[in-house]
């Protein structure tokens, strides 16, 4: 038990956790800004409101004026949390508002699963001492390491790995081992691209090329399952976790190429920050 506790509460630098907070919240800002018109448009969306998850707590559609106020508050609290200003207050406010905004978007017929991992990461960062470095008033923060900065980083990695594990289990639940043995992956890719093509949006120009070598899909399906179902194991070793993170990133790059699905959080690497010594990005940290 003690060994488990020592491992979980292994000290980590304050600057590592602070850098993860800063970069993650910056990503959220850009992510929301790029999709700004879609989020703003939710204020006047005509589609039927179909609540999911925490959306069930809402009485119904949010009035447009209130929705715009929520978005403005999200921007303000996000800016404050990004710069670490009163993080213990602005962090939870930001996380709660982000949960509201991302959930609300999923309440109109399409569930944005890709937001879930980002959301869990923001909740973890909001509920720990992530604002004690790279923050207003403390600058780069202390050089020291402490368990208070270590466990949140481990939790961020655990949440990431759990998300992939759930995705792997879901594949096995739906297709069983047929996911590996038959053409499930190939048909899945074909269906997704065909729907895009027939609904008039951009689809992958590489689909036809990939289908010229159908034998490739079996090892790719195996690798996908190993990467996802085996994910929790890599939490035990930091180096192995880093190898896994690179493999997971390559997996998303492959998805982007053959399916034209761009999950920006993992694709740009932000989902895997907790696996690396990201404080070294600040070269002055030496």
């Amino acid at each position: 038990m003690k060994r488990l506790a020592d491992w979980w509460f292994e000290p980590a630098p304050a600057r590592r956790l602070g850098m993860i907070r800063l970069l993650t919240v910056l990503f959220v800002g850009v992510y929301l800004a790029v999709q700004g018109p879609e989020f703003v448009g939710l204020g006047t969306k005509e589609s039927t409101f179909r609540p999911v998850g925490p959306g069930h707590l809402l009485p119904g559609k949010i009035p447009a004026a209130l929705w715009y106020a929520v978005l403005a508050s999200l921007a303000a609290s996000g800016t404050a949390f990004a710069v670490g200003w009163r993080g213990r207050v602005t962090g939870p406010i930001f996380a709660a508002l982000l949960l509201l905004v991302t959930t609300y978007r999923s309440c109109f017929g399409m569930i944005f699963h890709a937001d879930n991992l980002l959301m869990f990461h923001v909740i973890v960062l909001a509920c720990c001492r992530s604002s004690e470095a790279y923050a207003v008033g403390v600058g780069r923060g202390p050089e020291r390491s402490d368990e208070a900065y270590g466990w949140p980083i481990k939790l961020l990695s655990a949440v990431t790995l759990a998300a992939y594990f759930v995705a792997g289990v879901a594949k096995l639940k739906v297709s069983g081992l047929g996911w590996i043995g038959n053409d499930t992956l190939m048909h899945h890719i074909a269906f997704d691209n065909l729907r895009k093509a027939e609904l008039g949006v951009t689809w992958s120009p590489f689909t036809g090329i990939a289908f010229a070598a159908p034998a490739l899909f079996v090892p790719l399906a195996v690798l996908t399952l190993v990467l996802e179902v085996g994910a929790p194991l890599v939490l035990l070793n930091r180096k192995l976790g880093q190898v896994w993170a690179v493999a997971a990133w390559a997996f998303h790059l492959g998805i982007a190429l053959v399916m034209w699905i761009t999950f920006m959080y993992p694709l740009l690497g932000f989902a895997y920050l907790s696996f690396f010594d990201v404080e070294k990005l600040d070269r002055r940290s030496g």
Binding site: G41, G109, A190, L194, R195, E198, G200, V201, F211
Partner: protein, 92 residues
């Protein structure tokens, strides 16, 4: 699907049925299989925006394909069923 008087077909992008994403658009279309109203609304939006200027007709349609063969060049649907049709602008 938009159709010109000459019978040339082109897909109608999700935004014309009020959706930003293809998955949401597909779900909306499935839920509105006999969606005359959805068809008319999309036609009105296209007409007002002057988009797909040569199209005169919209069809809400289910097409079945061989998904893998599609990317080998067999892009014609195996079967087709029209659920609703409407005119873009004035009926010709």
């Amino acid at each position: 699907m938009s159709i010109t008087p000459e019978g040339v077909e082109a897909p109608v992008a999700p935004k014309w049925i009020g959706e930003a994403h293809v998955t949401a658009a597909a779900r909306k279309l499935r839920r509105a299989e006999r969606g005359k109203r959805l068809c008319r609304r999309a036609a009105r939006r296209l007409d007002e925006a002057g988009a797909l200027a040569h199209a005169t007709e919209l069809q809400l349609r289910s097409d079945r394909y061989d998904t893998v063969a599609y990317f080998g060049g067999e892009t014609a649907p195996l079967s087709s069923r029209v659920h609703a049709r409407c005119w873009v602008g004035k009926k010709p």
